[in-house]
């Protein structure tokens, strides 16, 4: 049940979904409007969660993962098309079929490194190229599975923001039409546009590690979205080697020397999320990759334990 809280000159709607604290900041003083917008965002996020959660057995994802020939709906088809494009753009590094590696890797801070033999049994089950995807039909080989976990939250944030925009555009009074909102799904956020006063939304990024007390980075966001990938607390350590949680689907092993976390600002939350994930997959070259994309980013490294950043242009 979404909650609503009045702030100085805006409202904050709260709800829980996708294992995150979700909030919607609504630049209005009209409580009914704020209520409606929160409800709209919550409904969309929950819809996407239910449809693509891998923990459910009543959704389209489950059906696909059973290995049967599945005729998918338009939205799922778009996600699959998108996954295919990501696979191509990342030259195989971003692969929605890599989720099966979870069976071998448990990043719980322990030293339980899987054996090479174990990994090798999983590798045949990974690879977008092994999937039969002919719009609108999909079929997976036995044992393979698809996981939209790497896209879902960012996609949900953008979809929620898009739904809010459509709703606002349909309002009849000009006050309501000028309302802007920010959707924040546990750090992945999307805005519908600048605030009423024409300024951007003030956003602070705090360090992901609890051991560090770095000053928060503040910036202003008028358009698009922000996403962070990585989690410094998820790793394994054995014989002095630290195994980060970012797995390369082509080898089944963690990417060596990847940053702990990367935050990116882009045209949409989904874009930002994909760029930050791909940056992690570039390992030590993460920042080279980000600079090549010329997007504003914040990169947090384990070894140097500092946050480097590109100033917001």
């Amino acid at each position: 049940m979404p909650g609503l809280e009045r702030k100085a000159d805006y409202f904050v709607g709260h709800f829980d979904a996708m294992a995150s604290n979700c909030e919607v900041l609504i630049d209005t003083e009209d409580e009914n409007l704020a209520q409606e917008i929160t409800r709209l965002a919550a409904a969309e996020v929950c819809r996407i969660e239910q449809k693509y959660s891998r923990y459910r057995d009543d959704n389209v994802l489950h059906q696909i993962n059973q290995g049967a020939i599945t005729r998918v709906d338009e939205e799922t088809a778009r996600l699959l098309d998108y996954a295919q494009q990501l696979y191509q753009l990342s030259e195989g590094q971003f692969d929605v079929t890599s989720g099966v590696l979870r069976q071998a890797w448990h990043f719980d801070g322990s030293d339980k490194i899987p054996t090479t033999a174990r990994i090798d049994t999983l590798l045949p089950l990974i690879g977008w190229g092994k999937i039969q995807w002919h719009h609108p039909h999909i079929q997976l080989a036995k044992g393979m599975e698809i996981d939209f976990g790497g896209i879902g939250k960012e996609y949900a944030a953008d979809r929620a923001a898009l739904n809010i925009s459509t709703f606002i555009a349909g309002q009849s009074d000009t006050h309501a039409q000028n309302t802007a909102a920010l959707v924040n799904l546990g750090g992945d956020l999307a805005v519908t546009g600048p605030r009423k006063n024409g300024h951007g939304w003030q956003i602070g990024v705090t360090s992901g590690t609890s051991t560090l007390s770095l000053p928060a980075v503040d910036f202003s966001l008028k358009q698009g979205g922000v996403a962070t990938s990585g989690d410094a607390n998820r790793y394994l350590e054995k014989d002095g080697v630290r195994y980060g949680h970012v797995l390369d689907p082509r080898t089944g092993w963690p990417v060596e020397g990847a940053p702990a976390a990367v935050t990116v600002i882009a045209a949409s939350c989904t874009d930002a999320g994909m760029l930050s994930t791909m940056a992690l997959l570039h390992g030590p070259a993460a920042e080279d990759f980000l600079r090549e994309q010329s997007v504003p980013y914040w990169c947090q490294w384990h070894n140097r334990e500092i946050v480097e950043r590109t100033p917001y242009p």
């Binding site: 338009e74 939205e75 778009r78 996600l79 098309d81 998108y82 494009q85 990501l86 753009l89 990342s90 090479t116 990994i119 996609y155 953008d158 979809r159 898009l162 459509t166 555009a169 349909g170 309002q171 009849s172 009074d173 390369d248 082509r250 080898t251 089944g252 092993w253 990417v255 060596e256 882009a266 045209a267 949409s268 989904t270 874009d271 994909m274 760029l275 791909m278 570039h282 390992g283 070259a285 080279d288 990759f289 090549e292 994309q293 010329s294 997007v295």
Partner: protein, 446 residues
């Protein structure tokens, strides 16, 4: 087992943004732009029609057309009109004041000498709804099924229609067949008067034949539409219709004169209710041509010949010429000429006793011999997004044949046919953009 990545990272941001855009928008960027105009169309118009010293009418029409599937449409039209003012009651002017009983029978009104007697009680609200479903059966055959209902406080009209259009000759010729059936019910104020009975002087009550009565109208139409060349097409229709039931106007009367050639109203019961046949068969031939000149101006011209078994014949010529100007503006002059002959039973007056020998008689000016001329101008502006706004102003004059030479006695100095002059103003707005529809939906949601 680590994969060494040595090559310089590629810039993928633009490709990624395009892919994300497709993912989020639900369709390619082209899609949202194009689908809009072809899906919904809303047309609306407001008409003000005012006759000099007689009725005034304000009429609003809203037409919504939606493509529900490929080439399959639902069209709904809602009409509301408000009528006020007075209408000739059928009696002729006289050199003395005349007193008439209102249709309700509860009051009377008096008309001054030397004026066309009018019934002043008209105040009516009409609401009408019609819905059409238009669907293709094959690549060359389409069908339309329609229904309509129209409600006034004393009149209810309901109808259905079906039509088929078959393309032949490489779609250069279209054959049309249409049929319609209408069932109308009169619920006149004060009941249905018995024809040729006297309009009693208030407070006496008229003789009535029940409270309600009805009629059915059946129509059939055959049409051929022919493309002549890249700039010209023509249409030829033949239609035939039959009306059965109560075809009389319950509010119209006739003046009954003395038998002495004086032109004076008879002393007792000077007015009787009109009486028309209870069947009418009408036919018409309708031709229309549309031609676009090399300067992009368009001529739209039509001619109709109409005749029925009441003895009425009419000719209608309608001409519209559209001048297109740069930037989406256009001007369209409109000329219309209508000429009709009188019904066999049209009488301006009766003489004493005639109501007992005649089968039918009506003094309704609409059954007389007259000419209607219309002159008008329309201005329109087409927006780039497909919306259109337009205005038009027209003047309509109706002039009856001068029969004063045939009139008897004192009536020779009276204007026996109630000539009419009317002005028409209309504003229209057509929209077919997605944004506007969203706006309207948002408005109704509020």
């Amino acid at each position: 087992m680590q994969l060494k990545k040595t090559q310089r990272p590629r810039n993928i941001r633009r490709q990624l943004a395009a892919a994300t855009c497709t993912l989020l928008a639900g369709t390619t960027h082209a899609g949202s732009l194009i689908a809009s105009g072809d899906n919904w169309k809303i047309d609306s118009a407001l008409l003000i029609y005012a006759e000099k010293d007689r009725v005034s009418l304000a009429e609003g029409v809203l037409n919504i057309r939606k493509e529900i599937d490929d080439d399959e449409f639902i069209n709904a039209r809602i009409v509301t009109d408000v009528l006020t003012g007075s209408s000739p009651n059928g009696a002729v002017p006289s050199n003395t004041a005349q007193t008439f009983t209102n249709p309700s029978g509860n009051s009377s009104y008096t008309e001054a000498a030397n004026t066309t007697p009018l019934n002043h009680t008209f105040k009516d609200l009409r609401n009408a709804l019609s819905v059409e479903w238009d669907t293709p059966f094959s690549r060359s055959l389409r069908g339309t099924l329609g229904g309509n209902i129209s409600r006034e406080y004393d009149y209810l009209s309901t109808g259905i229609s079906v039509s088929l259009a078959q393309d032949i000759n490489q779609r250069n010729t279209t054959l049309t067949l249409g049929i319609s059936l209408n069932k109308d019910t009169w619920d006149p104020v004060g009941g249905v008067p018995v024809g040729f009975t006297a309009m009693p002087a208030f407070p006496a009550k008229k003789a009535i034949d029940g409270a309600k009565t009805d009629k059915t109208v059946k129509d059939i139409l055959f049409g051929v539409t022919q493309i002549i060349n890249r700039q010209t097409l023509m249409q030829l229709n033949y239609s035939r219709g039959q009306s059965d039931g109560y075809l009389t106007d319950p509010y119209k009367i006739l003046s009954v004169l003395e038998n002495d050639g004086s032109g004076n109203l008879r002393g007792t019961n000077p007015y009787v209710y009109e009486n028309r046949p209870d069947q009418r068969t009408h036919q018409s031939l309708y031709w229309k041509g549309v031609h676009q000149f090399h300067n992009e101006n368009v001529l739209n011209v039509s001619y109709r010949y109409f005749w029925d078994d009441w003895g009425i014949q009419s000719h209608t010529v309608d001409l519209r010429y559209r001048f297109d100007f740069d930037g989406g503006h256009y001007l369209q002059p409109h000329l219309r000429y209508y000429q009709q002959g009188a019904a066999d039973f049209y009488r301006q007056t009766l003489t004493d006793g005639e109501e007992n020998t005649l089968s039918y008689a009506s003094a309704d000016y609409r059954l007389g011999e007259f000419v209607t001329q219309t002159i008008g101008l329309k201005y329109g502006f087409e927006f780039k997004n497909g919306a259109e706004i337009n205005f038009r102003a027209e003047m309509i004059t109706q002039k009856g044949k001068d029969r004063s030479a045939d009139a008897v006695g004192i009536l020779q100095n009276q204007q026996l046919f109630p000539d009419n002059e009317a002005y028409l103003l209309q504003g229209g707005l057509s929209l077919d953009s997605d944004m506007v529809i969203k706006y309207i939906m948002g408005f109704f949601k509020k």
